[in-house]
């Protein structure tokens, strides 16, 4: 079974329908990039996978579990917030604006989840977290506060913080959009190595180059609906739909 399975996902904000019936599957170890013009609903869909937004219709399963619900006796029961929190442990998320905890050091940011949520042993978590910071190339910044780090460094700490929970799935919401151009590369490098290690990833991005070289599949969204999906070679080099062609003509 696919790790992520979305069926007919709909979401409205007030009278605006942002997602108009999205179907999508993501297999284990697969890297899927969501592309499309702004306002297409890419970020909203990603946030629904983590139940940061509740969906109005349709269903999303992650690892066979309906997101935000408990299946029992042929019915779905909506979960309480602390039960949803338990589901979110297995899904990591990286935000456009990093959202590091400013009152904690880089190391404390990474340790926060395993220590406070999983109640694991501090010393053990500390060693693991230092290894994670090493992996994103920031071992020497362990004691720095977020305000003392560049945007690229903050985003790499944020990736380490998400990885510390040992997630099955990583969600990236425009991870390089808030960065200065010269800092984009260091974040994409970390994400590329993560993909090479077999992490299942859904990435909302405008980095066509990254999608081309790292994604197994790209999904092109317009106005809350999937317009085209396929390998990067298919969708990026031979787009069939006029909307995809228009978009790529502008960004390439």
């Amino acid at each position: 079974m696919a790790l992520v399975e979305a069926v007919g996902v709909r979401k409205s904000f007030g009278h605006t329908e942002v997602l108009r019936g999205i179907d999508m599957t993501v297999d284990r170890g697969e890297v899927v990039c969501l592309l499309g013009p702004s306002g297409a609903g890419k970020s909203t869909f990603l946030r629904c996978v983590n139940h940061l937004e509740t969906i109005d219709a349709g269903r999303i399963w992650v690892d066979g579990v309906p997101v935000g619900f408990r299946a029992s006796g042929g019915k779905l029961f909506e979960l309480r917030e602390h039960e949803v929190a338990r589901q979110r442990r297995d899904v990591g998320m990286v935000f456009q604006r990093f959202n590091l905890f400013p009152h904690r050091t880089a190391l404390e940011n990474v340790m926060e989840g395993p220590v406070q949520v999983l109640r694991r042993d501090r010393a053990e978590v500390r060693a693991e977290s230092l290894a994670l910071l090493e992996r994103v190339g920031l071992a020497e910044k362990a004691a720095s506060y977020p305000a003392q780090l560049s945007g690229g460094q903050q985003q790499r700490v944020a990736i380490a913080r998400a990885l510390a929970m040992k997630p099955k799935l990583m969600l990236f919401d425009e991870p390089t959009s808030a960065l200065d151009p010269e800092l984009v590369g260091e974040v994409l490098d970390v994400m590329t190595s993560l993909a090479r290690d077999g992490m299942t990833m859904i990435v909302v991005t405008h980095e066509i180059g990254f999608a081309r070289s790292v994604a197994d599949r790209v999904v092109f969204l317009v106005d809350g609906a999937v317009v085209e999906t396929g390998t990067p070679a298919d969708v990026l080099d031979n787009p069939r739909q006029p909307r995809t062609q228009q978009f790529l003509a502008k960004v390439l």
Partner: protein, 276 residues
């Protein structure tokens, strides 16, 4: 304006005249003069200055001081706890809780503290007993001592202000912080305790410190219901020896001591939660 000096003339031995500030000298001298005049007036006043230190450490004054501190700390502490609860209700998804919080703030912030203290103190006039059916019943005039009435009057009023301060603090924290906390699987309670409140503290502490200083002085209103705080203590002493000003000055000195200590405490708290 044409200059009679050329750039070449600006040598090291050129005389440079600094701007003079005669008005600073004048206004400084005036202020010193006024202070000296006030000092002279105080020295000439018919006050037995030598009696003030005795009143400062008079046993009744010290008892009043202790009562003032206990009342201020209890009222402020209770107000902080209640304020957090009301602020959370104000921000809750439950419309009944939201409306209750709005009404609570409207009522307890809207009435003068002195009036609230008097109403609590006289509660026995309209409710003979305080009871929760099947749990307990107690006579109101036994429960509603001067201390309890002052505590309720000061504390509930302050809790309405604290609710607004805490709400401002909570809403000042970027929603992205809550989302990040959720994304690593934090429950709402852990998110509040570990992520939101520590950051909200930066906004909450300065006005809370100011309010506590106001609270220290506000305890003086409890003197109207004969609670033995500093002013009532001063009046008790002076009713025997008629040295009204001397005892009031001794009480004033204690207020300044308490407020100074509170300011120092506030300074260190602000530094502990300050920006990194």
């Amino acid at each position: 304006m044409a200059s009679d000096l050329r750039p070449d003339d600006l040598t090291d031995d050129l005389v440079v005249v600094p701007l003079r500030h005669p008005w600073r000298w004048f206004s400084g001298a005036m202020i010193l003069l006024i202070i000296a005049g006030l000092g002279w007036a105080m020295a000439e006043a018919q006050i037995q200055w030598e009696d003030v230190p005795g009143f400062f450490t008079h046993p009744v004054m010290l008892e009043g001081l202790l009562n003032t501190i206990v009342l201020a700390v209890c009222a402020q502490g209770g107000a902080i706890v209640l304020g957090v609860v009301v602020a959370l209700m104000r921000l809750s998804a439950n419309p009944v809780a939201r409306w209750f919080a709005v009404g609570y703030i409207w009522l307890f912030r809207g009435l003068p503290v002195l009036l609230q203290i008097l109403i609590w103190f006289n509660l026995a006039l309209v409710f003979k007993n305080i009871s929760i059916p099947m749990l307990f019943t107690v006579p109101t005039n036994v429960v509603m001592t001067a201390f309890v009435a002052a505590l309720l009057g000061l504390g509930l009023n302050e809790s309405a202000y604290m609710a607004e301060i805490v709400r401002a603090g909570l809403t000042s924290v970027d929603p992205g912080q809550t989302e990040a906390a959720k994304s690593i699987g934090m429950t709402p309670v852990t998110t509040l305790r570990r992520v939101v409140l520590p950051q909200a503290m930066r906004v909450i502490i300065p006005p809370t410190g100011n309010n506590f200083i106001n609270m220290i002085k506000g305890t003086s209103m409890a003197s109207v219901i004969a609670f033995l705080e500093l002013i009532h203590a001063a009046n008790n002493i002076s009713s025997r020896n008629l040295e009204i000003m001397e005892t009031l000055f001794a009480a004033a000195a204690w207020y300044l001591v308490m407020v100074s200590l509170a300011s120092i405490g506030q300074h260190y708290l602000e530094r502990a939660y300050g920006p990194r």
